[in-house]
């Protein structure tokens, strides 16, 4: 059991991010009777403190400052060092998010300790955290332990069970002053352009329909979009497709893109390279449509069709509409 765990939370559009709720659930499970602390760093994040307590935090440390309105390595690292000192927890968890990918290693090296990135399973061995992580492009799993202190890890989205929300839970909220030393801020954020997600958000979707390079061209994504719309699903794409700029990078499912764990994942003309599987292997049910019977994707699939997508998709969209209608 861990004596205490610090979860570095994130707030998205005024709400506690799902990955934060997941980490609070994991921290609660790993710490037993120990203290779970949730850090909220940003601007206008204090209001989410109560939500963090309801999801398992015993204490919340808030660093709320207009200078922290958007993520910047230098300002957030300063804030994070103050939070880590205040919490003095032996274990610190970040989400494997834009922030976690950048900030967790930076904090680890600053504190002369180690970090386990992108864990999908967490367990305690005495006072040491064991983090299991996919590696070798998803072909293997490694179990790592940090030998320095504090022990830092990032946690992959959708890998942990949420704690049950209990709005009657009690906890403390401590505010600390950011007092950002601007002279130590070297990084400047010039511009941020969001890709506005239309329809269902990929990482939250219960059904995802993804297309791969086997579709032959961006125009053939019509059938992916049509099937997705018939199912109320989000659209995903393989890395090859995003590299070719057939689809925006925000739709990329895989090791370096989004990690999805829907109930149903339909992969169309995707061979199932291990780096793609790293992004979708958490799906509860995979359906694969590929003309190559030996495609790797079938090894992970529950249902498969070996046929050219061009011949199958239109009847499939019709049949799905009928099943849904009937």
């Amino acid at each position: 059991m861990a004596s205490s765990i610090l979860v570095v939370g994130e707030v998205e559009e005024g709400r506690l991010a799902t990955i934060t709720a997941e980490m609070l659930g994991a921290a609660r499970r790993l710490s037993g009777d120990g203290t779970v602390t949730c850090a909220l760093i940003g601007s206008g994040v204090e209001a989410s403190g109560q939500a963090a307590i309801a999801l398992g935090a015993d204490e919340v440390i808030v660093v709320d400052d207009a200078a922290l309105a958007e993520y910047n390595t230098d300002t957030y690292l300063q804030a994070m060092l103050k939070v880590a000192e205040q919490a003095s927890a032996p274990i610190i968890l970040f989400g494997q998010t834009d922030m976690g990918r950048d900030l967790a290693p930076r904090l680890a090296f600053r504190l002369d300790t180690g970090v386990i990135m992108d864990t999908i399973e967490l367990a305690m061995d005495g006072d040491r955290l064991q983090g299991t992580r996919p590696c070798y492009g998803g072909n293997a799993r490694a179990i790592n332990v940090v030998r320095g202190d504090p022990q830092i890890a990032t946690v992959r989205a959708k890998s942990q069970d949420l704690a049950a929300e209990d709005s009657s839970r009690q906890g403390t909220v401590t505010k600390i002053d950011a007092a950002i030393d601007q002279s130590a801020v070297r990084v400047k954020v010039i511009e941020r352009s969001g890709v506005s997600a239309e329809g269902v958000r990929l990482e939250d979707a219960d059904v995802v329909v993804s297309g791969g390079r086997g579709l032959g061209g961006p125009e053939n994504f019509d059938v992916i979009e049509d099937l997705a719309s018939a199912l109320g699903a989000a659209v995903g794409a393989s890395r090859a497709v995003c590299d070719l700029e057939w689809r925006p990078v925000s739709e990329q499912v895989g090791l370096t893109g989004k990690v999805v764990s829907p109930t149903l994942y339909i992969a169309v003309a995707i061979s199932g390279a291990s780096q793609h599987m790293a992004g979708c292997s958490g799906s509860k049910n995979i359906v694969a449509i590929n003309k190559d019977a030996d495609a790797n994707i079938f090894k992970a699939a529950r249902f498969g069709i070996v046929e050219d997508f061009a011949k199958v998709m239109t009847p499939l969209i019709e049949a799905v509409k009928q099943e849904k209608g009937g």
Binding site: D74, A140, R141, A142, I190, A197, S250, L264, V320
Partner: protein
């Protein structure tokens, strides 16, 4: 401007997953026979990023740095053929089996020894361990800023400007040089060396440094100095058996799939 690109040598993992084997007693991957050693994919993109800067400013010097066995010379040669100027090979028995803290220590110490380096370019992660922390580690140890996961890298008037890839978009960030940048596949395809460049690369200088050249020893690089240990490495087992849809025509197969999905209450 002097740019250092860190390039890691890895076995070519673009192989069927069925050929992927682990020796669980040793916690090591067994490289399949006949598989070539190649530069880690994101690192080659790093070389490309550096070459694009050199295309803009031809007096830029690009140094390729690789740590590993003597055979890592091959990945340096490949990068030199892409147009880089010289190489540094860090090779020593002490450099084997390091953790990321130690890797960052060796690389940052070598970068300091080169003197006058303005920019360090790394891949966003190596394709073997997929950890993605070395760039941040080098930056932290040099006390430089790091701009991570870039798809476009520009330098003007001593300022590094990087377009970063975010989960749902992009952002442009700037930092003064010297700095570290890590790059992602969105930057674009790396250039292929021409035959003439491959021949020229053979003549380019590759400096070899051991731990002692960097003033490092067992107290920093030994197993006892690791901040991270590997407890176990294994291949996850999948117990899914694919049920292939039958049918004389694509229409029948499609209808059967829709039925199966409905029966399983998935649609």
């Amino acid at each position: 401007m002097h740019i250092v690109v860190c390039v890691k040598q890895v076995p070519d993992w673009d192989i069927p997953p069925s050929s992927f084997k682990i020796d669980e007693a040793l916690n090591q991957v067994v490289p399949p026979p006949g598989v070539a050693a190649v530069p880690s994919q994101f690192d080659t993109i790093g070389v490309e990023a550096a070459m694009r800067l050199k295309d803009e400013a031809p007096d830029t010097k690009v140094t390729i740095m690789s740590m590993g066995a003597e055979s890592a010379r091959d990945v340096i040669k490949h990068s030199l053929a892409m147009g880089a100027d010289e190489g540094v090979l860090l090779t020593d028995a002490l450099f084997e089996n390091l953790d990321w803290y130690q890797i960052s220590l060796v690389l940052s110490t070598a970068i300091k020894k080169l003197e006058g380096v303005d920019l360090v370019v790394c891949g966003r992660q190596a394709v073997d361990w997929d950890m993605g922390v070395a760039g941040s580690g080098i930056a932290e140890m040099l006390d430089w800023p790091a701009l991570t996961i870039g798809k476009q890298v520009k330098v003007s008037d001593g300022t590094l400007s990087v377009e970063r890839v975010l989960m749902d978009g992009f952002e442009t960030v700037e930092a003064p040089l010297p700095a570290v940048v890590t790059v992602s596949n969105e930057l674009g395809e790396p250039r292929y060396p021409k035959l003439q460049q491959i021949m020229q690369a053979a003549k380019k200088q590759v400096t070899i440094w051991a731990a002692a050249d960097l003033g490092l020893d067992d107290s920093q690089l030994g197993a006892g100095a690791r901040k991270l240990t590997l407890e176990k490495l294994y291949v996850p087992v999948s117990n899914v058996e694919c049920e292939f849809m039958e049918g004389d025509t694509p229409e029948e197969m499609a209808q059967n799939l829709a039925k199966k999905l409905a029966e399983a209450k998935l649609i």
